[in-house]
Amino acid sequence: MKVTLKIWRQKNSRSKGSFETYPVDDINEEMSFFEMLDMLNESLAKKGEVPIAFDHDCREGICGTCGMFINGRAHGPVGGITTCQLHMRRFNNGDTIVVEPWRAKAFPVICDLIVDRTAFDRIMQAGGYISVDTGGSPDANAIPVSKVNADIAMDGAACIGCGACVATCKNSSAMLFVAAKVSQFSVLPQGQVERKVRAQKMVSMMDAEGFGNCTNTYACEAECPKEISVSHIARLNREFLIANLSG
């Protein structure tokens, strides 16, 4: 099959970017979207042109490194997967495919489709951990955790930090990302000690990094490759409110 790609090219964070058009032929529909991009990049490199830079690593949907807007949707047209899991059988011969980086004030473009998501690390730094030093922890089975709570915690912990929620949100809000972590710890006995201060610190860092507010459009849930539910946002709101009310 054959497609036409319109891809955002931007030399570095200071330069102005623009769309470039690349026709790609001889695509096997068993190829992944990235293998199709690899093929294009190989042909560019052969001609001495600089290949399209895009972030990717594990190529099995877990590292959270990849992410791009494809035809106006985060991680492309299929729900519940990352871009690296997208395969060309999802497209039709002759399609025009528009590829852009994540667009958000807090995620400045570094080069082409690569953006800087270190704001996520700084939010985590503000409180996305349980303060426990190595060694001296009690036996792992000493504190029972109900299966229901362990499962809720795991639902939140499944977040891969890819940034699709921010990129797809009209407010560029990081609420789903923050909520997934706050929620994980709020339902575990180990997370109770820092529960209030965690919600406050992570939310205020989110604001400081320039992410927008949540207006309940649920776009984040719809585009999350790990299908993390907005119910975590409800829990974050509750945690944040209780923390502020109880001081």
């Binding site: 899991q85 059988r89 349980i130 426990v132 190595t134 029972p144 362990a150």
Partner: protein, 637 residues
């Protein structure tokens, strides 16, 4: 050069405890005077960096990723072993030790493996305290499952994302220290060189992957936790950027490389579809708990799997190994799959695959039960192949997955360069010739949380901190050499892309140094690889410049090292005239086609010393002494 493993004296079970007492300590107020450079922030690196910082050392951590949370440890699916014996099925520290030594085909050190088993329980305690949501039963207790090479359930797991959860745990410990200012993290920064001063590791030179700037950093010790080198085969289950450059460049600076030929081929991966394939995807070993592996009894059978009646299927692992069945170790399962395909029983369009069938467990426990346990893996399989594994058996085939070999380290995890420590997959220490499933996460965290933070003090206490700033010339030389190497790569301006040459290397390696190795093939590889290396330096084309983000340049630098490391792997495989674990020499097999070890001549660690680009590496042998287990032929029947 004397290879001193520094294994403590005394009974096996007391070695680590007495060693911890005998080692020197650095007093708490002096710790802040020491700077430790940690390269790689996956499980081993992040756990080490955070623990060292908690203890009071100053830590600078480096990763080529944008964030520590992207490291490839994240892709581990199945679980982590520990000798907790929560299910009460007869597990113990000694049994975990024994299974690991046996699984490694008696090519690892007793003392190291015992220590690993001993601290395994601390790891689980630590991870639970960090808020890692391991699977639990309805009473709130931790759940376990089984993995290959063991007859007890000792594997802790978090759905099919155990590596992700453990890495996020280590990441949370690390960012907590970054927040406290005790760890300085350098993102998108790749190691280029190790700086030695008076023969000791005192710094590193790195490249900023965004700006291209070459910088060096001084420290009192250097820790490499940079993972394995499976991508030397081009196609592997490793992430795209995983590479062997850090350890290979340390090797060229004098660190010995141990057992490079011990590479692991994982039996359950999604088969190669065609020539454009960029990487291979693993389907967790945990699937072998409930899936049954089979091939059609009839050769070249083209019927759809569901049209083949049960009596015309060969459940060959259950037939050959009645007591372990589908849960034999990885090397055995891989080799048998290859053998079945070689005999003409392979399935799928390429005939290089066997079936992994879940029909029985779906009939027994229902689709929901299976989805709850393995849902994410089934979804992943479906997205890649376009087939529904709830209805049609999965097609699987072995793929390169892990490297047991790595830089030689002593009991303290220090390499043959003083002050240079190697952790996790990057070292050779604990898995012998074959790693058991769910042991990589265990080893990475054991090294980082519970071993290095103790052992490094023994070195630091003997040196004066911060003496290195006085001698900058070594750093300038290192930076100049790194710049020259980059200039050389960019100036070739040939006609082949980096990937084209890497694919050629992968082909040589898979055909001759892959699952079945023989003398003639290895000699062919030893002859062909240097030619390919020359081809690289004469004909590679890397567009762009060195002073900006340049992914082709990054790949080229890594491939240049793989082209040399590949030859070392082939030489090691050629030297080792026996079959053991993942190293299978066709000339050395039993009548039942099992690996045949030669304990008389090869019960040693092969530690290779670099001796110049134009002369072959020098072999040093560390004899392995077994006082607590008897060397037997591994039997999983």
């Amino acid at each position: 050069m004397n290879l001193n493993s520094k294994i403590p004296a005394g009974p096996l079970a007391e070695k680590w405890t007495s060693h911890k007492f005998n080692m020197k300590l650095v007093n708490p107020s002096n710790k802040r005077k020491y700077t430790i450079l940690v390269v790689g922030t996956g499980l081993a690196g992040a756990s080490a960096a955070s623990t060292l910082a908690e203890l009071g050392y100053r830590v600078e951590a480096f990763s080529y990723h944008e964030s520590p949370r992207r490291a490839h440890s994240i892709a581990a699916q199945g679980g982590i072993n520990a000798a907790k014996n929560y299910p009460g099925d007869g597990d113990s520290i000694f049994r975990l030790f024994y299974d690991t030594i046996k699984g490694g085909d008696y090519r690892s050190r007793e003392a190291n493996v015992y220590r690993l088993a001993e601290v395994s329980n601390n790891i689980i305690d630590q991870c639970v305290a960090q808020g890692i949501p391991f699977a639990r039963d309805y009473g709130g207790q931790l759940d376990n499952r089984s993995f290959g090479g063991a007859q007890v359930s000792r594997t802790f797991y978090a759905r099919g994302q155990t590596g992700q959860q453990l890495l996020l745990g280590a990441y949370s410990a690390l960012i907590r220290q970054m927040n406290a200012g005790t760890v300085k993290f350098h993102a998108r920064t790749e190691l280029q060189d190790i700086v030695l001063i008076n023969g000791e590791a005192k710094g590193i030179t790195v490249r900023d992957l965004v700006t291209g700037e070459i910088r060096s950093y001084a420290g009192d010790a250097v820790v490499l936790a940079t993972g394995g080198y499976a991508n030397v085969f081009y196609l592997s289950t490793n992430a795209m950027a995983s590479n062997g450059s850090a350890i290979y460049r340390a090797y060229k600076k004098g660190a010995f490389f141990a057992n490079p030929c011990f590479t692991q081929i994982h039996p359950t991966c999604i088969p190669v579809a065609s020539g454009f394939q960029s990487k291979l995807t693993l389907m967790s070993e945990s699937l072998r708990n409930d899936g049954r592996i089979w091939v059609p009894k009839k050769k070249e059978d083209t019927r759809a799997p569901n049209d083949i009646p049960d009596e015309e299927r060969d459940y060959y692992l259950e037939r050959l190994y009645p007591s372990f069945g589908n849960l034999v170790p990885r090397d055995v399962a891989s080799r048998r799959a290859k053998e079945m395909c070689d005999l003409g029983h392979g399935v799928g369009s390429t005939k290089l695959a066997v079936y992994l069938d879940f029909t029985d467990v779906i009939n027994r426990n229902g689709k929901d039960w299976v989805a709850d346990k393995y849902g994410n893996l089934f979804d992943m399989y479906k997205e890649i192949t376009g087939e529904n594994p709830y209805k049609t058996p999965m097609r699987i085939y072995p793929a390169v997955h892990y490297t047991m070999g790595g830089l030689w380290v002593d009991y303290n995890l220090m390499s043959s360069i003083p002050g240079l420590y190697i952790l996790g997959e990057a070292n050779f220490s604990d898995h012998g010739a074959n790693r058991l499933g769910a042991s990589a996460l265990m080893q990475g965290l054991a090294d980082g949380y519970f071993v290095l933070p103790y052992t490094i003090a023994d070195y630091l206490a003997r040196i004066t901190p911060q003496t290195i700033n006085a001698t900058p010339s070594e750093f300038q030389q290192s930076e100049a050499a790194v710049k020259e190497n980059i200039r050389r790569i960019l100036s070739v301006n040939g006609s082949q892309t980096v990937d084209e040459i890497h694919k050629k290397l992968g082909h040589i390696m898979w055909e001759n140094v892959g699952m079945a190795r023989q003398k003639s093939g290895l000699e062919k590889a030893i002859a062909e690889i240097p030619n390919l290396k020359r081809e690289f330096w004469a004909d590679v084309k890397v567009p762009g410049s060195g002073d900006a983000l340049n992914t082709e340049l990054e790949k080229a630098g890594r491939l240049a090292d793989f082209l040399e490391l590949a030859e070392l792997i082939a030489r090691d495989a050629h030297m080792r005239e026996e079959s053991c674990g993942g190293h299978f020499r066709v000339e050395h097999q039993t009548e039942e086609n099992e690996a045949q070890r030669n304990d008389k001549d090869f019960t040693f660690v092969a530690a290779w010393e670099y001796s110049g680009d134009d002369s072959p590496p020098q072999l040093h042998k560390e004899e392995l002494v077994f006082e607590n287990v008897q060397l037997t032929t591994r039997s999983y029947k």
